[in-house]
């Protein structure tokens, strides 16, 4: 099976935070964005919303700094997963994460990390705007290329004939 990854279409996110609540409900059985593995940062004075997601890095710093080896890679789901039994709550993974995606559960005293919901990411399933996608890693930018191509066509090519552009 091809490796799959979670990607964000930043221009589509409306900042509704449904992903956060779904994530906390599915994983923690409570409605609590503070315990979600995905979190939206809203630059409110600019009305812009940016979801911060775990990138499941190929060289995962969270795994490398973890002393009790609580973070392991699951090659079936292509996700690094926190073993709550092994996690000692040292929070080194949170410091090491280059994108700030790691989170912490103060009640259980363990790190919260995106596990891609065993291959069926719930944030993707319930995002009303289609801002999140779970796609093959080797096709990661094809969709974007089409968006750019469409834009290129409507803004540049359609105004002139092809040979004029050439």
């Amino acid at each position: 099976m091809a490796k799959k990854v979670l990607v964000v279409n930043y221009e589509k996110c409306s900042g509704c935070r449904m992903c956060e609540v779904v994530c906390s409900w599915r994983h923690q059985q409570e409605f609590n964005p503070a315990k979600s593995a995905i979190q939206i940062v809203t630059l409110r004075d600019k009305s812009v919303d940016i979801p911060i997601i775990c990138q499941q890095c190929d060289k995962a710093m969270c795994q490398q700094v973890c002393q009790p080896k609580a973070i392991s890679y699951n090659s079936e789901y292509f996700a690094y997963i926190v073993d709550e039994q092994k996690c000692i709550g040292c929070k080194m993974c949170i410091s090491a994460c280059p994108v700030g995606a790691m989170n912490f559960d103060p009640d259980k005293g363990v790190a919260i990390k995106c596990d891609l919901c065993k291959g069926v990411p719930q944030c993707v399933r319930y995002c009303p705007m289609g801002a999140l996608e779970y796609i093959d890693a080797d096709k990661i930018s094809i969709k974007k290329k089409y968006v750019v191509a469409e834009k290129f066509f409507t803004e540049i090519l359609s105004a002139k004939s092809l040979h004029q552009v050439g």
Partner: protein, 672 residues
């Protein structure tokens, strides 16, 4: 987390006079009998104020309420409600906003916050989970809404803090100032920002990281996907959900104009020629739409940011405008200048003004000017006209825009007069001015007209907070939801009910909507999803309320009816205690006596009486006095209210209830 329901479980009482802050468990009885939102707000306001409580006094209360849905995964769980006595109308006031403030309050651990007393110095309330502090707001006083947000975020060092605040309009006691949360979401109507300003409370800033649960987890999981489906192409009303997601409430401008119900020139008519091509959904989408936004955890997603791209106001950017604002600052002045509209929306947002009352108070003055009741010398030299030719829109709207700012700061005598709203301003002006103050019970009519949409006439007349569209409006006739009418009321009534111009059965329909929305505003669900489009109805509430609250009795329609009536009757009782009588259940003569002069509904007036009779029949009000029935209050569990009203001679033992001869099966006997 061992939550047995979706309530936060505690509430906060803040006394601004002695700076005392109390946290107590939310009484189970209060939750059980009133659910949340307006329900609980009505109970507290009834208990803790009386007819001597001046809206602008330390004794008046200002209550910020959530309900069982806030902060949960229910796909419309954003709203919070504010309840008080209105300084604009003098009557009962409720108003709500979406965004993120309501859910955050519950994540902090609180179902509601009661504000009482009055501070000497400006303060703001800061809540961070268990930490609750009153902090000085001297440095925030005078700041606009966005400035206040940025300063508080910096001060508390947390950009996730959610803020409800007032702008300079509330500080300067403009009677229709609103409370703004999450920068751009307005607790708009009835002047609750003015109450906050009087109490010298600049803001409430909340941060919460606690979790919430549900009473019935299995049933929640089972129904969640069914609810979600309603917001997808598989849903029955996908076409409307999709229109809201694409255009927001802009979409209404075209639809309302098509039925002759788009308020135009201070409610003179309901049709604005060429609106579709000038101020309609397509021009606004093409020329001003910038980015999509949403409230917390919403399936509909109707919010957006809009901007001005050229000319004098280039760079102006704000969330909205909603349909009501579009109407108030375009067709209301006969203007096609949408740049001025975006600017007006922005100004109202940053200063904290209700766009509806602001637009309609200024258009009231414009009509007085047109009719010669106001001269240029009276208006501080402002040429306050309606737009005579479309190409003059820009110039005339410039005057309106500068007047908005003058009203906020009370720059001169005229702008200070307009700070009072149209009803009181008309009283000051005297003479015929009242004819042009298009309000019901002190609240300016919103972006509707009862002449082409008869049931709305009753909505305006009986609403506890005056002429608004959110307390009992039926969209089923307005927008022609025939399939839904058929499902709810059967074949016999569907054509009569669907006919916007037919008054028959509309009293029953509006009464049902009032009961429905009393629950919607207590839970708190959004009107988008319950009014337009009609995604949810009473049968859904029979599931929803027990799932979240654990109050199983509300899966029985009979008990649900009592709950709805308890809230409706208590709010009415609040107004009755203040002196509301049958005379108040009336409409402005513009709607009952002046036939609509142009457009698809030309020639129509609203005939209120037949609808009022049906409404009184359902509510069991006394036809002569408008007073409630003692037995009915007792039946719905308001024994103490009946007792107090009885002492004041404001309840009737055997009310004269009108009969209409029409047959109507109450929803509680229809649904299962």
């Amino acid at each position: 987390m061992d939550k047995k329901n979706s309530y936060a479980g505690k509430f906060v009482r803040v006394n601004l006079t002695n700076k005392k802050i109390e946290v107590e468990p939310t009484p189970k009885k209060l939750l059980r009998e009133y659910i949340g939102g307006v329900g609980i707000g009505a109970r507290i306001l009834w208990d803790e104020t009386d007819e001597k409580t001046d809206p602008l006094s330390a004794q008046n209360k200002l209550i910020f309420l959530t309900g069982p849905l806030q902060g949960t995964l229910f796909p419309q769980s954003a709203r919070y409600e504010v309840v008080s006595r209105s300084p604009l109308t003098g009557w009962w006031a409720h108003s709500s906003a979406g965004g993120f403030f309501g859910p955050e309050l519950k994540y902090a651990g609180y179902d509601f916050v009661i504000i009482e007393g009055k501070s000497e110095e400006p303060v703001y309330l800061y809540i961070d989970n268990d930490i609750i502090q009153l902090r000085s707001a001297k440095h925030l006083w005078g700041k606009t809404v966005p400035e206040t947000n940025v300063l508080i975020e910096k001060e508390v060092g947390d950009k996730q803090v959610k803020i409800a605040c007032i702008g300079p309009a509330g500080e300067n006691l403009v009677r229709y100032a609103c409370i703004m949360s999450d920068y751009y979401r307005a607790v708009g109507r009835c002047g609750l920002g003015c109450v906050m300003g009087y109490k010298k409370l600049k803001a409430i800033a909340v941060r919460g990281t606690k979790g919430l649960g549900v009473a019935d987890k299995d049933k929640f999981d089972k129904l969640f996907n069914d609810w979600i489906k309603r917001y997808t192409p598989e849903g029955k009303y996908w076409e409307h959900v999709s229109a809201m997601r694409t255009y927001g409430t802009f979409a209404l401008t075209d639809w309302e104009n098509a039925i002759g119900r788009l308020p135009t020139k201070n409610h003179w008519t309901g049709y604005f020629e060429n609106a579709e091509n000038t101020i309609g959904m397509q021009p606004l989408k093409n020329n001003h739409y910038k980015r999509h936004k949403s409230c917390f955890c919403c399936g509909i997603q109707c919010k957006y940011v809009s901007e001005v791209r050229k000319g004098k106001y280039k760079g102006t950017e704000s969330e909205g405008p909603e349909y009501e604002t579009v109407e108030a600052f375009t067709s209301n002045f006969l203007s096609i200048d949408t740049d001025a509209l975006i600017r007006a929306n922005y100004l109202c947002n940053i200063y904290g003004l209700d766009t509806i009352t602001t637009g309609h108070t200024i258009s009231f003055a414009a009509e007085c000017y047109e009719k010669g009741l106001l001269k240029k010398s009276d208006t501080g030299n402002r040429e306050l006209k309606f737009v005579d030719k479309p190409e003059n829109s820009k110039k005339i709207m410039e005057t309106v825009l500068s007047l908005i700012e003058d009203i906020v700061y009370g720059k001169d005598e005229f702008s200070r007069l307009l700070q009072l709203g149209s009803k009181k301003a008309a009283e000051v002006l005297g003479g015929d001015a009242w004819k042009y103050a298009i309000h019901v019970n002190g609240l300016e009519a919103s972006g509707q007209d009862p002449r082409p949409h008869k049931s709305l006439g009753l909505t305006y007349a009986i609403n506890v907070r005056g002429a608004d569209h959110l307390t009992s409006l039926s969209s089923l006739d307005e927008l022609g939801y025939k399939e839904e009418l058929l499902r709810r009321y059967g074949k016999k009534l569907v054509d009569i009910l669907a006919d916007r111009l037919d008054e028959r059965y509309k009293g029953y329909l509006v009464s049902e909507m009032e009961e429905f929305y009393s629950l919607v505003d207590s839970l708190l669900l959004c009107k988008y999803g319950t009014m337009w489009p009609p995604l949810y109805y009473f049968d859904d509430l029979l599931d929803i309320i027990p799932i979240f609250t654990g109050f199983e009795e509300y899966s029985d329609p009979k008990e649900l009816e009592k709950l709805a009536s308890r809230i409706v009757d208590l709010r009415r009782a609040f107004n009755i205690r203040l002196g509301w009588t049958k005379k108040n259940d009336s409409l402005h003569p513009r709607f009952t006596q002046e036939p609509i002069p142009t457009g698809p509904a030309k020639g129509q007036v609203c005939n209120l009486e037949p609808m009022l009779k049906e409404y009184y029949e359902i509510r069991k009000f006394d036809w002569e006095t408008g007073l409630p029935s003692e037995e009915e209050l007792i039946r719905v569990g308001l024994q103490d209210v009946a007792k107090e009203l009885k002492k004041k001679n404001k309840v009737v033992k055997n009310p004269k209830i009108p009969t209409t001869g029409r047959k109507w099966v109450h929803w509680s006997k229809r649904i299962k």
